[in-house]
């Protein structure tokens, strides 16, 4: 479904993404794990067309992509952002936010589609005409997911979808994402700094540091701690909670 070949993104003089290549099969969930500044969000932005200053090869759903994307492209690929408050227009009701994609693409029978979208993410009609500031973090993220899925895309890009949420809400959102992927055979590219979240949703994982993929592995291998690169091992150890000895052994990778 997605084939990326030596994707490179340069900002001023630094390479935020340095010759990254990967494949994602249809219906698969691919995870990119990395710390801040690793370039993982930049990869998503390049994939989605938000960032147009990239070079390399990109094939999505069999079509070669250039820097500019057609409107039809956006029907097949959508994105969910990290901060649920920032990704909804503060002056648009939920109804308006969900109607917008339908309006832009000239899709009819909006009323039933909006109601169905709300139902699928676990929201009810009482939420339909609320403004974002009247919703909780979890509810806002559900609206963002509903908005992303209302056009029935095939690919969903997820940029830290649960990092800004409370722990108990995070579980609900992750369950929702998992269920939706199975029901609709969606392809996910998930970016996160949280290894556990990535391991839960994805089947393949790439570990990113300083713009490069340092390792790619199966989630099964990740769970079994069968890692090859020392950076991955370090990330694994650090995500297990605080340990004085482990902390002393940490190294900065540049």
């Amino acid at each position: 479904m997605i084939e990326v070949d030596r994707l490179t993104v340069e900002f001023d003089e630094t390479r935020a993404v340095d010759a990254v290549s990967f494949r994602v099969e249809k219906g698969e969930a691919f995870g990119i794990v990395g710390e801040s500044g690793s370039g993982k969000s930049t990869v998503l932005r390049a994939l989605s067309g938000l960032n147009q200053h990239w070079s390399g090869g990109m094939v999505i759903d069999g079509e070669e992509q250039s820097q500019h994307r057609t409107r039809a492209f956006h029907r097949h690929l959508q994105m969910v952002f990290q901060d649920p408050y920032a990704s909804l227009h503060p002056r648009h009701t939920v109804d308006r936010a969900l109607a917008e994609p339908l309006r832009v693409h000239g899709v009819g029978d909006r009323e039933p589609r909006i109601l169905r979208a709300l139902r699928e993410v676990g929201l009810g009609p009482e939420h339909r005409f609320r403004y974002p500031h009247q919703l909780s973090g979890g509810q806002r993220q559900r609206v963002a997911i509903a908005r992303a899925l209302i056009l029935e895309p095939r690919v969903l890009l997820l940029d830290e979808p649960s990092s800004s949420l409370d722990v108990s809400v995070q579980a609900e959102i992750l369950n929702l994402l998992q269920r939706l992927r199975r029901e609709r055979t969606l392809t996910y590219v998930l970016v996160s700094h949280n290894l556990a979240v990535v391991a839960h949703l994805c089947s393949h994982v790439a570990v990113m540091n300083a713009g490069r993929f340092v390792e790619e592995l199966d989630v099964a291998a990740l769970r079994a701690r069968r890692t090859q690169h020392p950076y991955t091992a370090q990330l694994l150890r650090a995500s297990e909670g605080y340990d004085r000895a482990a902390a002393a052994a940490l190294v900065t990778f540049d």
Partner: protein
């Protein structure tokens, strides 16, 4: 040092809003000595307000009351503003989440640390500068001379947070309140900063209150953990015995975390019981 470091009983913080009075902290009580105490809760649980109540640094419009609020035997509730100013920084210090917002952007890092020192101890400018450099070394910054002259926007998040810790520990306080000190940092940097905190707190025999939303992290770092929900403490648990927690909220919180070992099955979700808001 006899007696507990901090004694709190029936702490309440309320706000007046358009819909009447709402209590954000509802009867929190605990005592602590020179140990690492963690306070864990989700947003809206009242954990940050509890930490700030100790320093009486609440937002305007907040109403604070308690049966007892004492630090080292000193009553904080009835203390005069000048007495509180004496305590703040000198004996009780606070580190917050994002150094971008808590460091003064127009003063160099070293200068701020020196200022913090001078605010509480009589010393010459040269002595303060030496103390600042010593503190930068204590937080394991490799080139203290260079970092001394940098501005907050020129240092990374981890370094900024370490500078913040240096600044807060310069006057040698007895109690440090850390409100989500590592939440804005990367996982590996988090570990390093926590290691520094761990060492400093043990060396100086300080008490530490570690406020966070991350139950696992707090349990692996602290000695004791208080779990807060809806403005109340629902459970106090020994950090090493987190697995034996009994309150359904704590158990629910632990169960719904995704782990590497867990399979791909659905995550358990927290079923909130309204009884948790009122039961003792």
């Amino acid at each position: 040092m006899t007696g507990p470091l901090l004694e709190i009983a029936d702490l309440r913080v309320a706000f007046r809003s358009a819909r009447g009075i709402s209590e954000a902290v509802r009867g929190v009580g605990f005592t602590m000595g020179r140990e690492k105490l963690g306070i864990v809760g989700e947003s809206g649980s009242g954990k940050s307000l509890t930490g700030r109540s100790v320093l009486r640094l609440l937002p305007p419009g907040a109403m604070l009351s308690a049966r007892r609020l004492a630090f080292d035997g000193i009553d904080l509730l009835g203390a005069a503003p000048s007495a509180m100013r004496e305590l703040r920084g000198r004996r009780i210090a606070m580190v917050m989440q994002d150094p971008k917002f808590s460091l003064n952007p127009v003063m160099t890092v070293g200068h701020q640390i020196a200022e913090a020192y001078l605010a509480h101890k009589r010393a010459s400018a040269a002595e303060a500068r030496d103390k600042a450099l010593a503190m930068l070394e204590a937080v394991r910054i490799r080139d203290p001379q260079r970092v001394y002259g940098l501005y907050p926007h020129e240092v990374s998040g981890g370094m900024g947070q370490r500078a913040m810790i240096a600044m807060m520990l310069a006057p040698d306080p007895d109690l440090l309140i850390a409100d989500e000190p590592t939440s804005a940092l990367d996982v590996t940097v988090q570990m390093q900063v926590l290691a520094i905190l761990d060492d400093l707190v043990s060396e100086r025999g300080m008490g530490l209150i570690f406020i966070s939303h991350d139950l696992r992290l707090v349990a692996s770092f602290c000695d004791r953990v208080l779990v807060m929900y809806g403005g109340r403490v629902v459970e106090t648990v020994d950090a090493r015995r987190l697995g034996e927690a009994r309150h359904p909220y704590t158990r629910g919180l632990l169960a719904c975390l995704p782990t590497l070992e867990g399979g791909e099955g659905e995550l358990a979700t927290l079923q909130r019981d309204p009884a948790w808001l009122t039961a003792p």
